[in-house]
């Protein structure tokens, strides 16, 4: 654990309390931490309370709702049925793709209903996530390497990559809808006549291309920030030792940029898993471009509680992916954030 008062490594020995920094953990420090703790709880209270109201409360009520049945006409009796405790029925029905049947009990959801789309939506969500994040990582890395070089007009390029990032996703979706329109520029440019939003694979690629266009700059900027942390001398030394460009990339760039890269990939992955705006506006979720988020939104008006079960499943999936990233792939966001670097332990 760090022994400083603040988490920031103080470069120059600061006045006051400096002795404490190097003192072994003792009574004095415990007191300092206690008084700072009091301060900290006052400063943090508004944010924690606000987040508790806007996030924790909705999560808990979503979980409570997800174990309730929706009020509605009972298909078995044809009478209006009050909701009520439903146990894990809502979850089981989503995962097994079961719908209530008129004869009582459940049957496999007929094709076209929301209930029949759980696994295809999950697959679509993961497909979009894997493809877009992979493309964005490769393209972003390439852009970052270019922007890290010195050449005339570099600042122009760095400014230009911010343009796709700054355009709202809803506008981006409409823009690419226009580009991919049947008479649009994409078909004319490539001399094709594809109904981009009319069948499965063109629709999927339209979403992927639009998403890659919009979010690669974010990736590139994060990677560029990582690249700029690498001192030029390291490259010079490697060059003197006769390392090829590929060796320099593999042995220096990649390992040194890895922490920033992992955080960038984690952010983008979690963002892609909740993808909504782009497919919702671009394709309306048709042709197998329905993501889990779109499925939740479609379900809301057919029954809150069933929708709550699906949104909880979505939340759990995203949480698990984040957990895997942090636990097994070494994307240590908290450590990055607090700057609690190894040297201080």
């Amino acid at each position: 654990m760090a022994t400083e008062l603040g988490p920031t490594p103080v470069k120059k020995p600061a006045s006051g309390g400096t002795e404490l920094h190097h003192a072994p953990k003792g009574v004095g420090e415990d007191n300092a931490i206690a008084s700072q703790g009091k301060w900290a709880s006052w400063l943090l209270a508004p944010a924690i309370i606000a987040l508790a109201v806007v996030i924790v409360y909705p999560i808990i009520s979503a979980i409570v709702m997800s174990f309730q049945a929706d009020a509605g006409l009972d298909p078995a009796t044809g009478l209006f049925a009050e909701g009520g405790p439903a146990g894990i029925t809502n979850y089981v029905n989503w995962i097994a793709q079961q719908c209530a049947s008129p004869g009582g009990g459940t049957v496999a959801c007929p094709p076209g209903t929301l209930g029949s789309q759980f696994w295809s939506a999950t697959a679509t969500t993961f497909f979009f996530t894997i493809v877009t994040v992979a493309l964005e990582t490769v393209l972003g890395f390439w852009m970052a390497i270019i922007m890290a070089r010195t050449f005339k007009g570099r600042s122009l390029v760095r400014a230009a990559v911010l343009v796709p990032w700054a355009i709202p996703t809803a506008v981006t979706a409409k823009l690419w809808l226009f580009i991919f329109a049947f008479e649009g520029i994409a078909n004319k440019l490539f001399n094709t006549s594809i109904l981009w939003t009319g069948s499965e694979w063109p629709a999927k690629w339209a979403v992927i291309i639009a998403d890659v266009w919009k979010t690669t700059p974010f990736m590139a900027l994060l990677i560029l920030a990582g690249l700029q942390m690498i001192p030029a001398e390291v490259y010079e030394a490697a060059k003197v030792d006769g390392a090829t460009a590929w060796q320099r990339f593999r042995m220096i760039t990649l390992p040194l940029v890895k922490p920033a890269l992992m955080v960038a990939i984690l952010f983008r992955t979690l963002d892609a898993l909740r993808m909504f705006d782009l497919p919702y506006i671009l394709t309306g979720g048709s042709n197998n471009t329905t993501t889990l988020s779109i499925l939740v939104i479609s379900q809301i008006r057919q029954g809150f509680n069933v929708a709550a079960a699906l949104s909880t499943i979505t939340f759990i999936i995203i949480f698990l992916v984040a957990f895997i990233f942090v636990r097994f792939l070494g994307a240590n966001v908290v450590e990055q954030q607090t700057g609690a670097s190894k040297g201080k332990k």
């Binding site: 603040g6 300092a32 009520s61 230009a160 990559v161 990582g226 909504f276 939740v296 939104i297 990055q336």
Partner: protein
């Protein structure tokens, strides 16, 4: 000069020339790559702007410069006769974004200060919680909020749009400000305290003025993320309170089966231009804010 020496000199010259050539080649490749990046990033955005100035009859024109220039599309964008409320939506977005930004900053700056500067128990838990909150999927919030707001009659009100927006703007604010705070010259605070300021005074009189640019940058990022929000607004807003993203997504034309692309592109241009100008003017700060926390 002996023949051997001449030959050696010639070889050296040759070597220098190939090195120079290689350098030039590398430089050339960099320029070509940079041009590709430039076109990839700007061409689609340019296409939106150009289309916004085309006459409706020339929507699918492919000329790089608009041949039939008109400003009608901008007028159509604000036209309310087809059930669009773009002008109102612009005001709504400014209002919602403004309130969300101010509230998030007011709350977030203090939390960020504590996280960056103070040592206390459960710090990592708090940080993890806030980071987790920023990664939170919007759909997990929307279901209970939809029911709650329906029950208490808040559907389509401004507060129904502002409160959920705080759930993702506040973590972003805390996150960005914490990174900025960590990089500030805290020796000055120590000096102020040696000179007899309390921690609170040192914060107000020394740190706040120094932190102003960081707060401003964070405000821009917060405003942009609220401005771009679509999911929650698409479900909880009404015609009266809808923000621009919703207005553009549901933009209708005179003919129900024809998407009024030129007017939509005009609306998109109006929504985007202020952001792009803001981002380009404060480019360095914005990039620092965006990447804050990911490196260091």
């Amino acid at each position: 000069m002996t023949a051997a020496a001449t030959e050696l000199r010639a070889q050296q010259d040759q070597g220098r020339k190939t090195a120079q050539n290689r350098e030039k080649l590398a430089q050339g490749r960099t320029y070509i790559s940079a041009l590709v990046v430039l076109i990839w990033c700007l061409a689609p955005a340019y296409w939106m702007v150009v289309t916004a100035f085309r006459e409706v009859g020339f929507t699918y024109d492919t000329s790089i410069l608009p041949t039939h220039v008109t400003l009608d599309n901008f007028q159509t964008a604000f036209d309310t006769s087809f059930g669009n409320h773009f002008g109102q939506a612009l005001l709504n977005s400014v209002f919602i974004g403004g309130v969300v930004t101010v509230v998030s900053l007011l709350i977030g700056v203090f939390a960020a200060y504590a996280l960056a500067r103070l040592n206390f128990r459960f710090k990592y838990l708090v940080l993890g919680f806030i980071l987790g909150a920023s990664m939170f999927p919007g759909v997990a919030l929307i279901t209970p909020l939809f029911q709650l707001f329906t029950n208490i009659g808040w559907m389509g009100t401004y507060q129904a749009l502002i409160i959920p927006n705080i759930s993702f703007v506040l973590p972003l604010t805390v996150y960005t400000m914490t990174s900025f705070f960590r990089e500030m010259p805290w020796e000055l605070e120590e000096s102020a305290r040696v000179d007899g300021c309390t921690q609170g005074q040192a914060f107000r009189k020394v740190i706040m003025p120094l932190a102003a640019p960081a707060i401003f940058t964070t405000a821009i990022l917060a405003f942009i993320s609220s401005w771009n929000e679509f999911l929650i607004a698409s479900q909880l807003s009404s015609d009266r309170t809808q923000p621009v993203t919703v207005a553009i997504a549901s933009f209708a034309g005179a003919q129900p089966n024809q998407i009024p692309y030129t007017a939509i592109m005009a609306a998109g241009t109006i929504v985007t231009i202020p952001l792009v100008i803001l981002v380009l003017v404060f480019q360095r700060k914005i990039v620092a804010g965006l990447t804050a926390g990911a490196v260091k």
